[in-house]
Subunit: 450 residues, 2 copies
């Protein structure tokens, strides 16, 4: 039986609540208790969690409350209830990767990002559902806006739990569309950083264009989670990591924005395009110069380079993961979904030389995009083709999220649109290692368009 | 009771044996059986293995024999008995990382490098001893040249097993001196590739200057193992990986070599310096131009930049691992060695800004070294201060291996010297991503100096 929820879900920003913790009017434990009420209410309907660790979470929230009381929180998000995508290791819970092959498997350690969040005082509520190995095969999570619809993937549980207001933030990952798409579908804010921006050690989404990202109830919550990670464990080893201030940069009005109509654009429903067009009209009216392929050759060049983005991304990922899936097929092919069994064999014949050529080609496309920084502050487009489609057997089209993944640049999904009573995100695509600028532009867009 | 072995250990190249497999005169199974005889003979004395997988190894060798018989080996090293440093994951054996905290722990998957070796037909004999978390604390392995002496570390078991002739090759890793030093101490060939050269996914030696490397019975064996890995799983995701031909490049006489006297040089025993000096004299006599700080300003500049190499390396590693060791201390500090408990706290107060400055400083030193490529074909120096010191409580001074680690460049240890009846390596240090050139020069040096 499928039920359509009556009231729209309401997200719960943690940063918005913390002034009351500082003043003593409320406590992180109370915030968590409300999360757990919402968990009881929502979880049977949306199935966002693989497992939870509630006694430990309550104890952590109590410790956080003491720190706030003493005026010594470990970070601005000390006490934040947070979820960890089940592709990322946790010392106190299994990491099952959405696969029966890893049922009950324990890493016996925290991933770098998880350890950082603990050290920032965050309250780890549980592991959120990922599709099988953070790829396509869904594992039953439902969309809080309409439980007959997919939440998107692969960060399905993170997006559903944040969208439902159960969690203020959750870690996700993205190599194709796994953070931006579910954020869009569940009405959450989504942030995929520049590649290497957040330390991925202990995450099993580890292809060359994979990123650990954040699903959150507000832009501020998303930035703070990312910042507290990078401040403690940096980006991927040997890289400078996410750059930016210790609080979200203030809103900054962009001067010029490029509107991207990338592969799949023609298939987007009229209602979705209309919303973007209206939004672009308002931005233009507000004095922002709008660049498109009609009036900007660089935009046109970038769009045509990106036509092949999905295939190139899949080939890169395919090379990088085929040895792993070969092992998994040998271990027990019956425990793999037919889809992954088939698709993981697609790139078996790629040679090292071909893979190297793909990496070079990706660098070339990245350079085409980087040139756009001379004339634009950011690109905008839809986060997904439209609202979350009905059905739970697939996670929806990721095509609009692919360009930022291929380019290795920051992307944000802002829950500003609605199509057929389902949320849809405005996607802001920034420039490599200028994540803070993307947030500043996004903050301005939210303030104007909300 | 300490026993001094009478006969010098003899290494066993696999590639040298394969012509007999092709002709049908011998089989990989016979080669393995000899390995297992030597294992029985040596293992009680040297303790190179954490665990073995002998029935599977015999079965794999039998399958390899069938392929050779059919004229269809999977690679030139199909059937090679190989060991895997126990910091690298294996699906069929635990990965204990030299720590009681991971006693019996199973990754339930192969590391990329291990999977590649299996696909190349290699016979995985067992997991070789690593120091605690591939750092300093030794785990009891002894040197096959004199069991009262350390084999070096952290790739202790890999070096000892190859040095003793039990294995033709074994995987090691290096972030400071963990491949070059034990290779030198055990009289094996050691190869630390350019950084990112061999895919490290599933290796828990994962700092930014860590490399998966090879200990081997010959240069040819070392190259082939590395090549078969990169051909199948590439370098670290998103990098081109080790570059070079599918067989070891032919020996090439260098025109100019720089002799490096880096930090610690003054402490090297006279006998060790004498051997290097004699070797340099022979090379000069053979017509190779020798550059030193006395006659080359770039060499002098590089040497002074490298005076700080150990401290800078330790600071980079310290930032990159502190979150992990913090977790391990919390899990059970009593299961950590006192040394690692103490040293892992040394860099707790480093800030992200300081770490970023360290990474920039490392890049600056790397550029100074890269400039040397204009005038030199490679650098040479000792692989270690001297022969393996007596005692098993420490793994010896790694200082001479640090420069190549910091620089992220290929390094080879060639077992050409002996000091006080213990082996000592000539170290060849190449240029970044020109690993094949380093092998060509090393092959020439071996042919001339052996």
């Amino acid at each position: 039986m499928v039920m359509v929820d009556q009231a729209k879900p309401v997200m719960r920003s943690y940063l918005a609540a913390t002034p009351d913790f500082a003043s003593g009017k409320a406590t992180p434990r109370q915030f968590l208790d409300r999360s757990l009420e919402l968990l009881d209410e929502w979880e049977p309907r949306i199935g966002a969690f693989v497992c939870t660790s509630l006694p430990a979470a309550r104890a952590a929230a109590d410790r956080s409350a003491e720190r706030w009381r003493a005026g010594k929180p470990l970070s601005p998000i000390d006490g934040m209830p947070i979820g960890i995508k089940d592709i990322i290791e946790t010392v106190d819970m299994p990491t099952e990767m959405g696969s029966p092959l890893f049922a009950g498997w324990r890493s016996e350690k925290d991933a770098a990002s998880v350890r950082a969040l603990r050290d920032a005082g965050c309250v780890i509520v549980g592991k959120t559902v990922t599709t099988e190995f953070a790829a396509f095969h869904p594992r039953g999570t439902r969309n809080p806006w309409n439980t007959a619809h997919t939440p998107g993937g692969s960060s399905s549980g993170s997006a559903a739990a944040v969208g439902a207001g159960v969690l203020s933030a959750a870690l996700g990952t993205q190599v194709i569309g796994s953070t931006i798409r579910p954020a869009s579908f569940c009405g959450a804010f989504g942030f995929k950083p520049s590649v290497n921006g957040l330390n991925r050690e202990g995450s099993h989404d580890y292809q060359s264009q994979s990123c650990t990202g954040v699903l959150a109830a507000s832009l501020e919550d998303a930035w703070q989670v990312a910042y507290e990670i990078v401040a403690r464990v940096g980006g991927d080893a040997g890289t400078p990591g996410l750059q930016g201030p210790d609080k979200m940069p203030p809103a900054a009005k962009p001067r010029r924005l490029a509107v991207l109509e990338t592969a799949g654009w023609d298939a987007a429903p009229v209602g979705a395009k209309q919303q973007l067009n209206e939004c672009v009209g308002r931005l233009n009216w507000a004095g922002i110069e709008i660049r498109t392929r009609q009036n900007d050759d660089t935009v046109a060049a970038l769009e045509s380079e990106l036509l092949n983005a999905a295939e190139l991304s899949h080939r890169c990922n395919g090379w990088e993961t085929r040895w792993f899936f070969r092992s998994m097929r040998e271990r027990d092919a019956d425990k793999l979904s037919p889809a992954i069994r088939e698709r993981s064999q697609k790139y078996e014949n790629l040679t090292l030389a071909e893979h190297r050529a793909d990496l070079k080609e990706r660098d070339r496309v990245r350079a085409v995009h980087a040139a756009l920084a001379a004339t634009c502050d950011a690109c905008i487009t839809l986060s997904a083709l439209g609202g979350a489609p009905a059905g739970l057997t697939a996670t929806g089209n990721p095509e609009f999220a692919v360009p930022a993944s291929l380019l290795g640049v920051p992307a944000l999904s802002l829950p500003l649109f609605e199509v057929d009573a389902m949320p849809l995100g405005l996607q802001v695509i920034g420039f490599r290692d200028r994540d803070a600028d993307a947030f500043a532009a996004a903050a301005w867009l939210v303030s104007q368009l909300k």
